[in-house]
Symmetry: C2
Subunit: 319 residues, 2 copies
């Protein structure tokens, strides 16, 4: 069944591709089989992370960016990490609808990720979905996350190029988040640049980059700041040019190698955590677990000792 | 040294308490020793999670809420999960400064968490810090997170009472986040309720609760909606009353037991993941790891097989 699906995907069948992504997302055994089979055909796509605080207009921006990339006849994949993931299994309305207009374009493949559950689950599912889209033939894969949570930021960090989208006049904690994301950004976007305060935001970002001058000079890449008004297409072509410039820099400087090693490392880590979580679950009886939990609640055993017992029983790991 | 710190903490020494939190956050060995020693003295504090999208005014709200709780002479602890954690090690300005006014009040203990790194790190550090504050004598411990990331939401879910803060007129993806958080909220707050659109937000939330009627009736608790204007103290007392009502419900319905079991389970899980990550790291040579990563980058070995090799070599776990 899987061989058949892969063959159909390689011939450009979208439904087979969608099915393969669902399989890697939900079925550990099949994920393994699929990834090892398609693995030699991956590694070609450029992976662009798009992140920023909620309300920055990332989805509209991405919608317009896809339009520009499609004019160059490149095949585009989009993986949108759904912020509602831990609960509803993905109930986004406005955002996804905005991108739906591309759904009849055979050169655009949009997928929303809403994996919840065990540690490493979201990161692993995203990595695997990227591989499927890469093997399918996507030239460019956009990974969109809300840049606030730790896991979500870890995911976007593994992209070749990280685009950080911000908007003028956000509140205090959004500013803090922006500051926290500064270090991973390769390209800055000030979206809604026709709004009041855009100049101040530009000035502020530029100043932050000036303060980090030494670091950029050493690395050989100073992140450009692109001003956009996604709703009117203003600045979107400039943004795509900036992304392409960064891709060129990655190749010429050899930094692409470092990025790929980092991505492989994170990928292996995510698989390892998932495997261990499952190994523990399958080797420990439900009653044993609930006895241990009851003991902790009653203060008869502390959580560290409970963890030791679990590790010794399931994996033979001594404290 | 640790015995001395614990003794001083139990006598109400704040500096010793701060030091103990730093130790549980950064030193695995000492965390274990500290937690097992103070564990019998924990379990008394009520844990209140405060979450919501960036820009909802959570910190100002919490600042005012502390004021009300202090009027009842209760000792308050605050653990603020810092959204910038993965990068800067915590560089929040406005938010924390707002709460600084309580820093001279010996009955208020505020701590910012900025743990990064291995899986389970943030959750484990938060759990351990809660225990220290609990043993120190806090009656109420507030845990504040930005309710967007998966880990951050998982942390707040383990609180006794979860307060979800929202504001009128937020954008699309913020609405989606709010929808995703609906299921874990015990109390809803519409902050900045003097802003345009507050009535519409109230109406909308109320409608969502009506749609879930069956679930609330079965559980015996319909989350109240409290309108606040944190800057003018409007609604803050009502919010504290709503939280106390929920605490009463937890006790009377016996749901507090279920909550405590859930928290113990999540706690054990966080410790287990941390221990495994460290076990793997210590048993695998750096060269071996980088050879495997190189193999994956070169497409000589797929990441699943690399993960198998690591697990077999370090923990003896067979594929």
């Amino acid at each position: 069944m899987i061989d058949d699906l892969i063959e159909r995907m390689l011939r450009g069948d979208r439904r087979a591709t969608a099915r393969l992504i669902t399989l890697v997302e939900n079925d550990e055994e099949k994920a393994r089989e699929i990834i090892s089979k398609i693995f030699p055909r991956t590694g070609r796509a450029r992976i662009i992370g798009i992140t920023g605080p909620p309300g920055a207009g990332k989805s509209t921006l991405l919608d317009k960016l896809i339009k520009v990339v499609r004019e160059e006849d490149q095949v585009v994949g989009v993986i949108a990490i759904d912020p509602t993931s831990p609960f509803t299994g993905g109930a986004l309305l406005g955002d996804r609808i905005r991108m739906q207009r591309h759904s009849t374009d055979p050169g655009v493949f949009i997928r929303s990720m809403a994996t919840r559950g065990s540690l490493g689950g979201l990161a692993k599912a995203t990595n695997d979905a990227i591989k499927v889209l890469d093997a399918y033939g996507c030239d460019v894969i956009f990974v969109e996350t809300v840049g606030v949570g730790q896991i979500e930021v870890d995911i976007v960090k593994t992209a070749d190029t990280v685009v950080l989208v911000t908007v003028p006049g956000l509140g205090d904690d959004v500013q803090a988040i922006k500051a926290g994301l500064m270090e991973i950004a390769d390209v800055f976007v000030i979206n809604k640049a026709d709004k009041e305060g855009a100049d101040a935001t530009y000035f502020e970002l530029n100043l932050m980059l000036d303060l980090e001058k030494e670091r950029w000079e050493k690395r050989g890449w100073r992140p450009p700041i692109v001003e956009t008004v996604a709703t009117t297409m203003k600045g979107i072509r400039e943004l795509w040019d900036a992304i392409k410039d960064h891709q060129k820099f990655l190749k010429e400087s050899g930094e692409i190698e470092r990025k790929r090693r980092f991505r492989a490392e994170e990928e292996i880590k995510a698989i390892v955590s998932g495997k261990i979580a499952r190994a523990i679950e399958s080797r420990l009886g439900e009653e044993e677990v609930s006895n241990l939990i009851r003991g902790v609640v009653k203060r008869e055993i502390d959580p560290y000792s409970a963890a030791d017992l679990i590790l010794e029983k399931t994996l033979g790991v001594k404290p």
